[in-house]
């Protein structure tokens, strides 16, 4: 029983990392209708920026804050000068643009900081506590709490604020949003900026655990994409639940189903997707989109 609880707790903590990236992807998708494959790469770049500030002697918290602000600007600039050209065009092209962006961002990080693993200082103490017989590190507990808090803030932002309403309006129908007097372009920039901020937070939370490398979040991105599809592209809560479920399930399956084991556990979320989407094509929490001809 002790192992079981330990596995569940560990799963929840990795799941929260997938969740942070998934939230960023949902945010961009809600604002622009795109899936941003560069989200992980941008998050890694943010973590490197925070790392650079700590090397300059800035305290960790200030370094992270500075990285968050810079990430917002980078996200907004990328939207304005690169992505905007492809919005509303062929979705295949837009997907490839974000893939190109991923390669570019990874390359930039590699040029400045190289491919070697760098140690990133942790924001939270490295002690651990015992809950129900499972050893839980304070760091993963704090990470999970942070992600959940962000999820709540996002939900409130989207559903309770004017900015959230405007962002949703732009995503739903840019043309009629513009007719109602919304600054569509500026809102899209804000959407990308916020997503970059989310990515930055995910990046600095994960970096101490994984150590900094340009490809640090590549696997996490794949899981995050799986969580996004599973939870539904329109639901922040859904994708956090899905990300946690994926984290827990893959941990349990890796240990209790020897046929799958650690090497094939990455298949678990996709088999899950396959089964669930065939039953419920809009995702677990997504709304069904009705298309009229």
């Amino acid at each position: 029983m002790g192992t079981f609880i330990q596995l569940v707790v560990d799963g929840l903590s990795t799941g929260s990392i997938y969740a942070a990236l998934a939230l960023a992807i949902v945010l961009v998708n809600q604002a622009t209708g795109l899936i941003n494959f560069a989200q992980g790469g941008m998050a890694v770049l943010s973590a490197y920026i925070a790392y650079a500030f700590t090397r300059l002697g800035l305290p960790l918290v200030l370094a992270i804050l500075a990285a968050v602000v810079i990430s917002f600007v980078i996200g907004a600039v990328i939207e304005r000068f690169l992505v905007r050209r492809f919005e509303g065009g062929d979705p295949d092209t837009a997907v490839v643009v974000t893939i190109g962006l991923l390669s570019l961002v990874t390359g930039i990080a590699a040029i400045f900081w190289g491919y070697n693993n760098l140690a990133f200082p942790s924001l939270f103490p490295l002690t651990s506590v015992e809950i129900l017989g499972a050893v839980v590190s304070v760091r993963s507990l704090a990470t999970t709490v942070t992600i959940v808090a962000i999820m709540v803030v996002l939900q409130v932002l989207f559903l309770r604020t004017k900015l959230g309403l405007a962002l949703r309006a732009v995503a739903d129908n840019p043309a009629s949003a513009a007719f109602s007097g919304l600054a569509v372009g500026r809102l899209l920039m804000v959407g990308w900026g916020l997503a970059a901020v989310l990515g930055a937070i995910a990046g600095v939370l994960v970096a101490p655990q994984l150590t900094l490398t340009p490809g640090m979040l590549d696997t996490a991105l794949v899981y995050a994409l799986a969580a996004v599809i599973l939870g539904g592209l329109s639901s922040p809560i859904g994708c956090v639940v899905a990300a946690s479920a994926i984290g827990v399930l893959e941990n349990l399956v890796a240990v209790y189903v020897p046929l799958i084991g650690h090497d094939l556990k990455i298949a678990v979320p996709f088999v899950l997707i396959f089964v669930i989407l065939v039953i419920r094509p809009q995702g677990l929490f997504g709304r069904k989109v009705v298309v009229r001809v």
């Binding site: 062929d90 190109g100 990874t106 390359g107 996709f270």
Partner: protein
């Protein structure tokens, strides 16, 4: 009459052009150095894979991020067949049929899902494929991979190995492109286009969107398998690394850069897939990631339709300028195909338009 003469001119130039290209391709391996031959062979290998991807993504509009899985599957089936001394024709058929069946099974489930869901299901193929290939070491040789030699030039031909491989790849690639071309230009190609544009309209025309999507996906998988056969013919070795997710993404990039929804675009895409890593590695191996990303973004920024639209864009730009500066305007000198038309039909629409303007 004038219309017919222009068609004749068009057809004769086409025939001559085709003949020139065919002769050049047959003679080329005999005079080119081995390295150039190997490069051309690899372009052929990936052009077939990109062609398959183009049929499912470019023509039918389903985002497929798993094409490399079928290439790898085709390569493994080829290696297995060769190492068990099957007849080589049988090996080729198996290398097409096995990925085709797997593609069909995936498509039967995936084609029910719309838009991005199909991208997610296909993303899983290479990601699950790599550990699976390592696990099934009985068939795949595990992480070390497996090798198979079957494309050494026979003695009677008097050719070098690279030349012999060139002809094998040329044969299959040309066959694949002719098949692909007639597929997308015929009844099924039109169905693909309608399904891509609007599924409801397709259904109202009596085209089943589901069946069309499954067909496109299966055909793409078969082309992927054929590409895997060619890969083993050229490289003679395959490992789980062959079907990594990064390669799958590069294939999608090559397809879009070459030109989605274009047969020639698939060929350009194959060339892009082979040349750009060579080029960026030559500049500086440390800059590979950044320069590949930059090239990709620049090409898409300037030519969202892909490289295949380059002549069209140049023609449009060059046509616009002379027409404004000189009212009598010469037709663009770079297209002999169109020249007879204005000469034979002096009362054409274009002329009156010019008179109005002057």
């Amino acid at each position: 009459m004038p219309a017919m003469s222009s068609v004749l001119a068009k057809r004769s130039t086409r025939v001559i052009l085709t003949a020139v290209v065919a002769i050049a391709l047959i003679v080329a391996p005999l005079i080119l150095p081995a390295f150039a031959n190997q490069t051309l062979v690899r372009i052929g290998v990936y052009a077939v894979a990109v062609l398959g991807l183009n049929i499912v993504m470019g023509y039918t509009g389903q985002v497929n991020l798993g094409q490399i899985f079928f290439v790898g599957l085709g390569a493994y089936v080829t290696a297995y067949g060769v190492n068990h001394d099957w007849n080589i024709i049988l090996v080729f058929v198996a290398a097409c049929v096995v990925p085709g069946i797997v593609g069909l099974l995936v498509a039967l489930a995936a084609a029910r899902l719309g838009g991005l869901a199909i991208a997610m299901v296909t993303i899983a193929l290479p990601i699950v494929g790599v550990p699976l290939a390592k696990r099934l070491d009985e068939f795949t040789g595990g992480s070390q991979g497996t090798s198979a030699r079957f494309t050494d030039a026979p003695d009677w031909s008097g050719l070098y190995n690279d030349q012999w491989q060139f002809y094998i790849v040329l044969l299959v690639t040309v066959g694949a492109f002719l098949l692909g071309r007639s597929l997308v230009r015929g009844k099924y190609g039109r169905a693909f286009g309608v399904v891509k544009e609007n599924e409801a309209v397709a259904a109202s025309m009596g085209i089943s969107p589901y069946r069309t999507k499954v067909l496109a996906f299966t055909v793409a998988s078969i082309f992927g398998g054929a590409s895997g056969f060619l890969y083993l013919a050229a490289v003679q070795y395959t490992s789980p690394e062959t079907l990594s997710f990064g390669h799958s993404i590069s294939l999608v990039a090559a397809m879009v850069i070459g030109g989605a929804g274009s047969i020639i675009g698939a060929l350009i895409g194959g060339a892009y897939y082979v040349f750009v890593p060579q080029l960026t590695n030559a500049i500086d191996p440390n800059l590979t990631a950044i320069s590949q990303g930059a090239i990709l973004l620049v090409v898409l920024f300037l030519l969202p339709q892909g490289l295949v639209s380059l002549p069209r864009v140049i023609r449009r730009l060059s046509r616009r300028r002379p027409a404004r500066s000189t009212p009598s305007g010469n037709p663009p000198q770079n297209s002999p195909v169109h020249q007879p038309a204005p000469a034979a039909a002096p009362e054409g629409l274009e002329k009156t338009e010019r008179q109005d303007r002057s």
